[in-house]
């Protein structure tokens, strides 16, 4: 199972007021609120934690096929920065610069390890079944187009490059629960996929195996 999430800090600044009364209490556990209060940059910590929780939620939702709004039952703990020398290419994707973090998110009995990268105004978080590695992990600025269409184009471009497939043979189709899957020549591929976009950015994480 797989999940990813993007926060464009510039967009978040324009559209969300995290300092609004009761906002943090509604979505963060006591421990998370403490971490935000003690952070050097509380605003960035708000969105780092939120993004980790959202990535974990997407994985949980596809695993359990449930839809619920339960931000405080998504409990992030053990939020650590990964030192540069400890980073593997897997954890970084193509983002060789910036800050990288790991945290554990628990959602009603499920534990997920989430990786998150912060570079300038961009946060990208992802989580994948333990022991698996992403086949493709990408995030890119998309410009002024329709974000969900542009994110799919980005995915198509990378699928085509990776598998040497003709883009016209590839399609992305959602199942009845809204989970996206890759199809090649109209046959569902044994791949798991999570798409995300926010503000100026779109991205995805792709892994082998359907679950």
């Amino acid at each position: 199972m797989i999940g990813n999430d993007i926060v464009d800090l510039q967009q978040a600044r324009q559209e969300s007021n995290w300092q609004r009364p009761r906002y943090l209490e509604k979505i963060f556990t006591q421990e998370e609120q403490q971490r935000i209060a003690e952070a050097e940059a509380p605003e960035v910590m708000v969105w780092l934690l939120w993004s980790c929780k959202e990535a974990a939620y997407k994985r949980w939702a596809s695993q359990t096929q449930q839809r619920r709004f339960l931000p405080k039952k998504m409990e992030s703990t053990d939020f650590y920065q990964i030192q540069e020398q400890d980073l593997t290419t897997t954890e970084m994707g193509k983002q060789k610069v910036g800050h990288h973090y790991t945290c554990s998110v628990r959602i009603i009995g499920h534990h997920y390890m989430v990786y998150t990268a912060l570079k300038d105004d961009l946060i990208h978080s992802w989580t994948l079944t333990e022991g698996k590695k992403p086949l493709l992990l990408e995030v890119a600025p998309l410009g002024q187009q329709d974000l969900s269409i542009a994110t799919r184009s980005l995915l198509l471009k990378h699928l085509s490059k990776h598998f040497l497939w003709s883009p016209t043979d590839i399609s992305i189709q959602k199942n009845e629960h809204g989970r996206p899957f890759v199809y090649y020549q109209n046959k569902k591929c044994p791949l798991s996929l999570s798409l995300a976009h926010h503000g100026r950015y779109g991205g995805f994480v792709l892994a082998e195996g359907e679950s």
């Binding site: 969300s16 979505i27 839809r67 619920r68 709004f69």
Partner: protein, 82 residues
């Protein structure tokens, strides 16, 4: 406030968080905030806080879990303002 007035109030509350204003025209009890209106989940928090302020109620975490549609929001409001 009757049901229609409550739906109108919810519509007013969600409006600033909806990119695609056309989607608001057909707003009804089945409208899903995330799927139909493409509201992002960080804004769902704002909507919950706005509903609390508008109707002077407190929505606990348990009730909040279900608040994904206009109908679910209405049910919570009806329950709380009683």
């Amino acid at each position: 406030m009757n049901k229609q007035e409550r739906i109108a109030a919810i519509k007013r509350i969600v409006e600033p968080y909806v990119q695609e204003k056309a989607a608001l025209e057909n707003l009804n009890e089945d409208t899903d905030f995330l799927k139909d209106l493409n509201i992002n989940s960080a804004h769902l928090v704002d909507i919950i806080l706005d509903v609390e302020d508008e109707f002077d109620i407190e929505i606990e975490d348990e009730a909040m879990e279900k608040m994904l549609t206009v109908g679910a929001a209405l049910a919570i409001i009806e329950e709380k303002v009683k």
